[in-house]
């Protein structure tokens, strides 16, 4: 008969490796007939393991189809991140919309559409608002009172900018054919040539909660 410690080790390893609950009989079937533990000893080992798992991330419990070791539900928030979906990519339309809001704020959806030459889907605006990169700062006083969008502090933080004035100027963007390479070298401090404004300006521009 295996020693108590060895019995516990085998049972623990089996429950962790099985990928499904194991019954008492299935656990006993792991042993050679010449080395068969008592049913009672297996029960005791299961009990001991369950106690050892107190205060740990896993627990041993008996379910309908046998004994199972599983992650404690209180750890689900961490463990779930194992299967977090890989982030999708943003559409071109969204990036263009965001860029226009950044450079021409405060701006209405109609004005964005005018420049882009195509309509801007409600989803894009919704995504930008949810991501808290964009917020509504007012309404233009024209029929329909369209919302005026502006970027948030969260937008600046995400791109490691202290203020919008650190974005490349329009002229720089138009000129840069090799924007790729240069940005590789210069981001996030894209300030080469950009006019510097007093740095303290933004400390107040808190995004809405």
């Amino acid at each position: 008969m295996p020693t108590e410690q060895r019995l516990k080790s085998i049972i623990e390893a089996a429950l962790l490796a099985a990928g499904k609950p194991l019954t008492l009989d299935e656990l006993l079937a792991l042993f050679d007939v010449t080395d068969l533990p008592e049913r009672q000893a297996v029960r005791a080992a299961l009990q001991a393991l369950a106690e050892e798992y107190q205060g740990r991330g896993i627990e041993l419990l008996e379910v309908a189809s046998g004994f199972r070791i599983q992650v404690r539900s209180e750890f689900a928030p961490w463990i779930s991140r194992l299967w977090a979906e890989r982030p999708a990519r943003y559409s071109r339309a969204l990036m263009e919309t965001l860029a226009l809001i950044a450079y021409r704020q405060p701006i209405t959806r109609g004005e964005i559409e005018e420049v882009r030459g195509v309509s801007v889907s409600t989803n894009i605006i919704k995504t930008l608002l949810e991501r808290e990169w964009v917020r509504v700062v007012g309404h233009r006083d024209v029929p329909g009172k369209p919302s005026l969008y502006a970027t948030t502090k969260g937008f600046l933080d995400y791109f490691n900018l202290k203020s919008l004035s650190e974005l490349p100027t329009l002229a720089e963007i138009r000129d840069l054919d090799t924007i790729n390479q240069e940005l590789d070298l210069e981001l996030p401090g894209i300030t080469a040539g950009a006019s510097h404004e007093p740095a303290a300006v933004d400390s107040e521009s808190k995004p809405p909660p």
Partner: protein
Amino acid sequence: MEQREITGIGAPHPQQAEMPFAMVQGEVLSTMPRDLYIPPDALEVFLDAFEGPLDLLLYLIKRQNLDILNIPVAQITTQYMEYVELMKELRLELAGEYLLMAAMLAEIKSRMLLPRVSSDESDEHDPRAELIRRLQEYERYKQAAEDLDALPQQGRDTFPLEIEAPDRIIEKRQPDLSMQELLLSFKDVLQRADMFSNLHIKMEPLSVRERMSIVLDRVNSDTFTAFTRLFDYTEGRAGVVVTFLAILELIKGALLELVQTEPYGPIHVKAASSST
């Protein structure tokens, strides 16, 4: 790992008695045949056990407990040829590699039988050298394969674990966006706008644009805000100028209303859209 060296084949490896080497007509062959004679029926099985001519040669050398560096070519060649003859006799499909090796052995043998010119003995290339090199080279990888097989393997010796995680909360991760992508797409917008319209986008410096958003955020369409409260004097002259430009820009865009009830009185500001 300790360093090993391929020398001759020393003591025979421990025998694994319970592992039959082959079953021939119901009879268990638990060791390799001791002499050359192999029951003809067993030959095919026997040859199957070898991974080619080098493996067979290594076996012949080991069987006689010989040093790989000191192969008695004549003897080994004779044995090897007899196997090859047997194969032919049985019309086994002979792999070309076995015949090639036979030719190589025959050549070495013939060269070694020639009288040597004693004067340049040291320069003379030993005809066995190439064979020895190949045998050694093969043997080290044969050994490496055995060592590899002896490593603990997942699913054979060690086992992966996987337990249930209850309540999988699938979290949607937000896409990432680089400044580079953002600017490149903006560049496209600008190019399109230039091409398709007379809409020439003229822009205020970004600091002003940004301040416009901030000012709009501070004012309210229901109540008035004191004009002076829009300025933060700790920012210094430049900051104040930016705010002033932003306010002018907002008024021009009909986004702000300025109210002064009496000359030189306090100016108040509110968002324009309240005037409904």
